[in-house]
């Protein structure tokens, strides 16, 4: 109940600041289980994706997020677990007890769609996209029947650059591209190059001449 109310507040605030518009170019906002993979430049990234998803899809779409960040402190724990229902993974290879891919696959088996950020960390530099980590590839191998939808989030890094506390209201867009799937014979490198290209092609700065 409280979690739903807070979710509504967060979505309303995101609209107030960014007037965000979802553009569906190559996939539709309907049915089916999906893994949305997006560029990552700000903590607000998955909130924006969440905001533009129709409520029915939003309910069963879970962001994949770092446990070390979201389990720190009561408020973050409440927001991460109860409001966003995040799949929390441990980024530390040494100390973790559960494999992230197993956790994500289990969430997919439970009927959820996922939001992942294959760059692995927030991109704060000038390059549009950091090289993908291999997580998306392993997830695609584990569940090859699930559509992988590239999602480009534009402008949010200007709304709230790293280290700032006050967001600047700017118009943002979230563009959903055509889904991709992994081919049986595709190597890890080939797949990652293809996934990166599919995501980068949605960026207005790259698409414009």
């Amino acid at each position: 109940m409280l979690a739903k109310f807070v979710a509504g507040l967060i979505v309303g605030f995101a609209r107030f600041i960014t007037a965000v518009q979802g553009k569906w170019e190559g996939s539709d906002p309907v049915g089916g289980q999906r893994v949305y993979f997006a560029n990552h430049a700000s903590h607000g990234d998955f909130i924006l994706i969440w905001t533009v998803l129709p409520p029915r899809l939003r309910q069963r779409t879970r962001p994949v997020a770092a446990a070390d960040y979201w389990l720190k402190g009561q408020l973050r724990r409440f927001i991460g677990r109860d409001v966003f229902n995040a799949v929390l993974i441990d980024r530390d290879r040494e100390s973790r007890r559960e494999d992230p891919i197993t956790l994500m696959a289990a969430a997919l088996d439970g009927g959820a769609s996922l939001i992942v950020f294959p760059e692995g960390t927030r991109n704060t530099g000038e390059t549009p996209l950091l090289p993908f980590k291999s997580g998306l590839y392993h997830l695609a191998r584990a569940r090859p029947d699930v559509d992988l939808v590239p999602v480009w989030i534009d402008n949010l890094n200007r709304v709230m650059p790293k280290g700032e506390i006050v967001p600047i209201p700017l118009v943002c867009t979230v563009t959903f591209g055509a889904p991709i799937r992994i081919a049986e014979t595709q190597s890890k490198e080939e797949f990652i190059v293809r996934a990166e290209a599919a995501l980068l092609a949605l960026s207005p700065k790259v698409a414009a001449p």
Partner: protein, 316 residues
């Protein structure tokens, strides 16, 4: 808050009637010519009519709310317009606090000053105080790349989206002998003349438009559309003299000024869009683009209209 003026109710009823007629025409056109939604011109027309319903309803509510209602409505419009404008600027991280100040300090303060009718401060707050303080805040971060361009863009954004737009509710603070309690109708007059002129220029342009007036700026604007729209809007403005403190010739003159400023305002804002390589300022109003696309002509005419009326008619 007192009861809305009967003239205002007459006016709103008139607009409701026009919109009902427009919606019926749109419905008939759609069911005859575009039953499957394939005719984009008709779909766009219907989108526009629907957006007009929302705009007239909001404007009507604001006008009935008097000074507070109009000030709130235009503060919200300024916020949305500033959000669209700043999106297209080349501001950087170093401008973060200057921009936060523009949205969360300058904008509310300007509209508060309007609300309390402090003419001496609201007429210089942005051109003097914000103009000097914003570059100071930005310079403290030490980033000099494109510095002049960045601060000029933010200042321009504030002047257009906040300062100029706030002159619409500022009309509430004018004190015109014999016109007490009717200032909302002055706002209605300004907004109606501007918007009717936009619509009529579009209609005349569609009917007779041949010679393009500014091909590099706005391919849809024609000489025929401009002249026809400006003249008919001036006539309509003269016909609205009953709700203003003006005589019909005075109302015609002021309408002409409003129409000219609105037209050239539209051209200026088109030039900025071209410069930035976008077609519309935003996507919030279906069929119209962004807030600035709908506000550009009001923004340019409001300060001039305000000062003309203040100089010749107001005692404050």
């Amino acid at each position: 808050m007192s009861a809305p003026h009967p003239d205002l109710l007459t006016l709103l009823a008139g607009f409701a009637a026009i919109l009902v007629a427009a919606s019926m025409i749109g419905y008939v056109l759609q069911s005859r010519l575009s039953p499957d939604g394939s005719n984009t011109a008709i779909e766009n027309l219907n989108d526009r009519i629907r957006a007009w319903w929302v705009m007239v309803a909001l404007m009507g509510l604001a006008l009935m709310g008097g000074r507070t209602g109009v000030t709130l409505l235009f503060a919200c419009c300024s916020f949305a317009a500033l959000r669209e404008f700043v999106t297209l600027t080349s501001t950087r991280r170093a401008d973060h606090w200057a921009l936060a100040g523009a949205f969360f300090a300058v904008l509310p303060i300007q509209y508060y000053l309007i609300w309390i009718s402090w003419y001496g401060l609201y007429s210089i707050f942005i051109p003097v105080y914000a103009f000097l303080m914003m570059p100071i805040i930005a310079v403290l971060r030490g980033d000099t790349d494109n510095y002049l361009v960045r601060i000029a863009e933010v200042q321009w954004a504030l002047m257009i989206c906040v300062f100029c737009a706030s002159h619409v509710p500022a009309l509430m603070s004018l004190d015109i002998p014999g016109y007490e309690g009717k200032n909302v109708l002055l706002i209605a007059f300004l907004v109606i003349v501007v918007q009717i002129s936009d619509v009529l220029q579009y209609v005349w342009g569609k009917l007779l438009g041949r010679t393009r007036i500014a091909p590099t700026l706005s391919p849809s604007k024609t000489v025929e559309g401009f002249v026809g729209g400006a003249l008919s809007a001036t006539l309509i403005g003269a016909g609205l003299a009953w709700m203003t403190p003006f005589t019909p010739p005075q109302a015609a003159f002021l309408s002409l000024v409003i129409v000219m400023m609105g037209f050239f305002g539209g051209l200026v804002m088109s030039a900025i869009k071209r410069d930035r390589g976008v077609k519309d300022w935003g996507h919030l109003i279906a069929g119209h683009g962004g807030f600035i696309d709908r506000l550009d002509s009001v923004v340019f005419s409001a300060p001039i209209f305000f000062h003309l009326v203040r100089y010749w008619w107001s005692v404050t």
